[in-house]
């Protein structure tokens, strides 16, 4: 399935993918991040039982230096 992550299209060779599995696939496990799916925040507690669908738009953000 194809997902758009942080503005870039990415293909995943699976038919089912949860947010938690996506985080693993992207090597982001353990990092402090927040995820928005199609404009709605996915709470961290819901990562494991939120199934992604082809075409989903995801934003994955973290904290960086800023003023």
């Amino acid at each position: 399935m194809q997902l758009t992550i942080n503005g870039k299209a990415r293909d995943f060779a699976v038919t089912q993918l949860t947010v938690a599995e996506l985080v693993l696939q992207l090597n982001l496990e353990g990092k402090r991040l927040a995820i928005e799916r199609n404009g709605e925040i996915v709470p961290r507690s819901q990562f494991a039982n939120t199934l992604l669908a082809a075409g989903d738009q995801l934003e994955i953000v973290g904290a960086v230096g800023g003023g």
Partner: protein, 260 residues
């Protein structure tokens, strides 16, 4: 002595708030923040690098959440919608943290705030339970409206973000301070220690800065200077300055007992 800065129900010893951007590396960021004595530090919310090497250090590793109060900002947002979205992500990122810095910009060259969008975002965020410290123009009417909306602090600019031009309109700041029932902090434009001291002498409750420290030749030394300036300015404000007069004809030394 208990002269504390109170924001959204929490007390802070330090009246200097600092940004975490523009430093050489995280080590320098941390050293400068330690030298500044700041307890509240701003952070930006940005897309995570996908595919970056696992285990790469992050800003938060150097600024543990149990030692600092984060103030996530909306830097780079040009609409109320983007700012609200960013801060909702920040709240999720920081485990329900509600203290935020709202800034909605109006122009990429000057980074001057768009107050119409800022007010629209502030209304949504306050309703949504955020404690909103809001970056704003130094317009007393705007500042009052932001207070009426329910923001927990107003943060007018001293001059443009990153300009280091200092306090360009102390008179407007004084009007904002006189009218406010919430903390007024100067945010943006401070260039050197005297600017921070002047802001505090005017009666500001605090000063927020980033570039003045990060872009100094020696950021760590400048962070220490800013700490002292904010403390000195605050004490001078509390002490109450003497009246200005062109001349007094009242010397400080006795007028009698002179040798002849």
């Amino acid at each position: 002595m208990s002269d504390l800065l109170n924001i959204a129900g929490k007390s802070y010893q330090s009246r200097l708030l600092v940004g975490t951007g523009k430093y050489q590396d995280f080590k320098q960021t941390r050293a400068a923040i330690d030298a500044s004595g700041a307890e509240i530090v701003t952070v930006a919310i940005r897309r995570t690098n996908i595919g970056q090497t696992a285990g790469e250090p992050s800003l938060l590793d150097f600024l543990p959440p149990d030692q600092f109060t984060y103030l996530p900002n909306t830097a780079g947002c040009y609409s109320a919608d983007d700012a609200v979205r960013t801060l909702r992500l920040a709240r999720e990122l920081l485990d329900g943290h509600t203290l935020v810095k709202l800034e909605v910009l109006g122009d990429p060259n000057t980074l001057y705030p768009n107050m119409i969008e800022t007010i629209a975002a502030a209304k949504v965020l306050v309703k949504d339970g955020f404690d909103v410290m809001v970056y704003c123009s130094d317009d007393p009417i705007m500042a009052k409206q932001l207070e009426d909306i329910g923001c927990c602090a107003v943060m007018p600019l001293a001059s443009l973000i990153g300009s280091g031009m200092g306090i360009l309109n102390p008179w407007n700041l004084q009007i904002i301070i006189a009218n406010a029932n919430i903390p007024v902090l100067v945010d943006a434009g401070v260039g050197t220690a005297s600017d921070a001291a002047i802001a505090m002498e005017l009666g500001c409750q605090g000063v927020l800065m980033n570039t003045a420290i990060a872009a100094a030749r020696d950021p760590i030394q400048m962070a220490g200077a800013m700490k002292k300036a904010v403390e000195a300015g605050r004490e001078a404000y509390l002490a109450g300055r003497m009246a200005k007069k062109l001349y007094s004809a009242s010397p400080s030394s006795p007028t009698t007992g002179l040798i002849s």
